[in-house]
Symmetry: C2
Subunit: 102 residues, 2 copies
């Protein structure tokens, strides 16, 4: 079970890119990218999109990893976590079906 940070670091190193190079492409300090890769800071959605570009990763996949990381972290300490996810899925479906109408 990989985190976004691990995915990013692995791919960055396999491409032989430096923190400073990637960070400059994202327009952030390399300190932040270093922290993102070690899950000490969270990326923004914009960071993720740019990362997918420069690291040649599938944007959709990376976004899924990113958002699911956030959610998992958010509810991991709840003992009703899996019930929460089931109910959330129903609510999302409901919201989406209404988006079409409105």
């Amino acid at each position: 079970m990989e985190t976004v940070g691990q995915i990013i670091r692995a791919k960055r190193e396999s491409l032989g890119l430096l923190l400073r190079q990637v960070a400059s492409y994202l327009d952030i300090d390399q300190a932040i990218l270093s922290k993102i890769e070690r899950n000490e800071r969270k990326a923004t959605k914009g960071n993720i999109i740019k990362l997918a570009e420069i690291l040649k990763l599938d944007k959709e996949d990376l976004l899924v990893q990113f958002i699911s990381d956030r959610i998992a972290y958010e509810i991991a300490d709840e003992d009703c976590a899996s019930k929460v996810l089931k109910v959330a899925e129903q609510k999302v479906k409901y919201l989406k079906s209404n988006l079409v109408k409105n």
Copy 2:
């Protein structure tokens, strides 16, 4: 598909309680409670726990509704929403299995 706000308002009214009474029990201004009930503001976790008490609602159930509301709202605009939830579920399981060990 009910939101937490709708659940709270329905139960408060069925108990014949006023916004001001419930709000004072939560130690917040009634304006906030009014907004929470109409989903214009989000409750805190503490609010929810106190609401379950005073409205005689099951605490676990209400928390599930509360957190799933948050998550659904958070990802409703993503078109990969249901994939996100599936991956999140796996990650939660993984995190939980490690919590036992550490």
